[in-house]
């Protein structure tokens, strides 16, 4: 069972208005949507708007994969950082090569009977 906040996050990306959590006490930011701030300990994490564009931090090509993605390898998985100091993991759309520092746009790929897949498309 996939967490409900993951489904909500994907739906918000579809609407192009994703959100992340920011600490009202110390400014720390992050996902998943925690209540308590892992940095200062205050239970003051609140929703804030997240941009759609991010920058590649690291990428790798997956050659040996799980049964779910069998037949799709190789494909690239990216960790990208948003301006709001939030990092997210997603699958690269298309076959372009990406390098650290490259710009990408977050998206969602819907598949029948599967949870949504977070994607990044080179921008």
């Amino acid at each position: 069972m996939t967490a409900s906040w993951y489904e909500s996050f994907a739906a918000a990306v579809d609407r192009e208005e994703p959100q992340y959590r920011r600490c009202a006490a110390c400014g720390e930011s992050g996902l998943p949507p925690r209540q308590t701030c892992p940095t200062c300990g205050e239970p003051e994490m609140i929703d804030a708007p997240l941009s759609m564009s991010a920058t590649v931090v690291a990428a790798t090509e997956i050659h040996v994969t799980t049964p779910k993605f069998e037949g799709e390898a190789p494909y690239t998985v990216v960790i990208a950082e948003f301006d709001e100091n939030v990092r997210l993991t997603g699958q690269l759309s298309g076959n372009e090569d990406v390098r650290p520092g490259d710009g990408v746009t977050v998206g969602v790929e819907r598949r029948e009977d599967w949870p949504p897949v977070i994607t990044f498309t080179p921008s």
């Binding site: 996902l31 790798t60 040996v64 049964p67 993605f69 799709e72 494909y75 998985v77 960790i79 949504p116």
Partner: protein, 386 residues
């Protein structure tokens, strides 16, 4: 803290598809018990590290299962699961029980049966150590996570794929003379670099293999040892555990394992040692990059210098601070739930002077056991007793 290790044994690591988990664990447990003048009925508690039995064997509840099969079904038991750090964590629970006076003799071990189910199921099962929503749903695999850590590390420091490959070459060389090792043949740097890609920069030989195996320790209180004429050679002088975020994406520096750093600090403080005191280490080299992060976490060198420590031969078996004289996870194999205890078994052999790659005059040894990509870590300091 003064728990003593009275017996320590591992099965051979590799393919045991003719045995069930309980049979393989029994082999390790009976070998460990056999090293002490005890029988199973002397055991007060059983802790078993296991990660994926529910998927590979349709079997959970491994603690109770093993105690039952050993003929001591009435003792308290638990299965300890902390991904790849399961049995290292189980050792800490055993020491807790002895420190609290709840037990005098604890059987603590681990077992994992990975061969029979095949690579796809195992890749899926290993992914359970990661964050399902943020990592698995994006198609990220366990080697993929370490590949991303390697990319960030290699981007930060001047480290090449050849440098990573040196870890595999060293550990495979050490595995040649270890009779329990899954791989007992050397590899060349070219073979590592040219192996088929798994998740670049990691190729097949940068990754630990799929392994069946079991390991066990008999841990006793000093009072019990004194009253029963036992004089174990090795004591657990310090232990430390720590955690970090489950998903790699949530860590400030992906080329660093903070949980292992904190666990090491706590273990060293408890034992009253500094890194310079360590004679020999077994570290969690599930991938070549992981050994570089490990030696830095343990304070054997500065951050970013793990590769230099390896390429200059300092971590070789004849080097200044030998790391993974057993062959490590890369050569010895990585039966996930058994690995933490298997590392202690290897250090016990070093401190008792009976290791196939003996480091002369070893008196202090350290084990470093990491769960997932570093969300849990446990470090033990072992010393010659007396």
């Amino acid at each position: 803290m003064t728990a003593l290790i009275a017996g320590a044994a591992s099965t051979t690591f590799g393919k045991h598809d003719d045995l069930s988990a309980r049979e393989l664990f029994r082999d390790a447990a009976e070998a460990a018990i056999g090293l002490v003048s005890l029988t199973a009925v002397d055991i007060d508690a059983v802790y078993v590290g296991n990660f994926m039995g529910a998927l590979t064997d349709d079997q959970g509840h491994m603690g109770a299962l093993m105690a039952d099969y050993l003929g001591i079904p009435d003792v308290p038991t638990a299965t300890v699961e902390s991904a790849c750090a399961s049995s290292g964590t189980a050792v800490s629970r055993a020491v807790d029980a002895i420190d609290a006076g709840q037990a005098d003799v604890v059987l603590v071990g681990g077992v994992e049966m990975m061969y029979a189910t095949g690579i796809a199921v195992i890749t899926d099962a290993l992914a359970n150590a990661a964050d399902n929503e943020y990592e698995n749903e994006a198609g990220l695999t366990f080697p993929g996570i370490y590949a991303l850590m390697a990319r960030e590390y290699m981007n930060t420091y001047d480290v090449s794929e050849e440098d990573l490959a040196q870890v595999a070459v060293k550990n495979r060389r050490n595995g040649v003379s270890n009779p329990i090792s899954q791989f007992q043949e050397e590899v060349t740097i070219e073979e590592v670099l040219e192996a088929r890609p798994i998740a670049p920069p990691l190729g097949l030989f940068d990754c630990c293999p799929i392994t069946d195996g079991a390991s066990a320790l008999i841990v006793v209180s000093p009072e019990f040892a004194a009253n029963h004429g036992l004089s174990p050679d090795v004591r657990i002088a310090g232990r430390g555990q720590a955690g970090d975020t489950l998903a790699l994406q949530d860590r400030e520096d992906m080329g660093r394992t903070r949980a292992a750093e904190r666990a090491a600090e706590r273990a060293y403080t408890a034992a009253g040692i500094v890194p310079e005191d360590i004679d020999v280490c077994e570290v969690h080299d599930c991938f070549t990059i992981a050994e570089l992060l490990a030696v830095e976490s343990l304070g054997l060198c500065e951050r970013g210098e793990g590769a230099t420590l390896t390429t200059t031969g300092e971590t070789a078996k004849e080097g200044r601070i030998p790391v993974n004289t057993s062959g490590g996870l890369i050569a010895k194999g990585h039966p996930v739930g058994a690995t933490g205890v298997a590392q202690l078994v290897e250090i016990v052999k070093q401190l008792e002077g009976r290791h196939p790659n003996q480091v002369p005059d070893s008196a202090i040894g350290v084990t470093h056991n990491v769960g997932g990509s570093g969300a849990s870590a446990v470090v033990h300091v072992l010393e010659v007793a007396g």
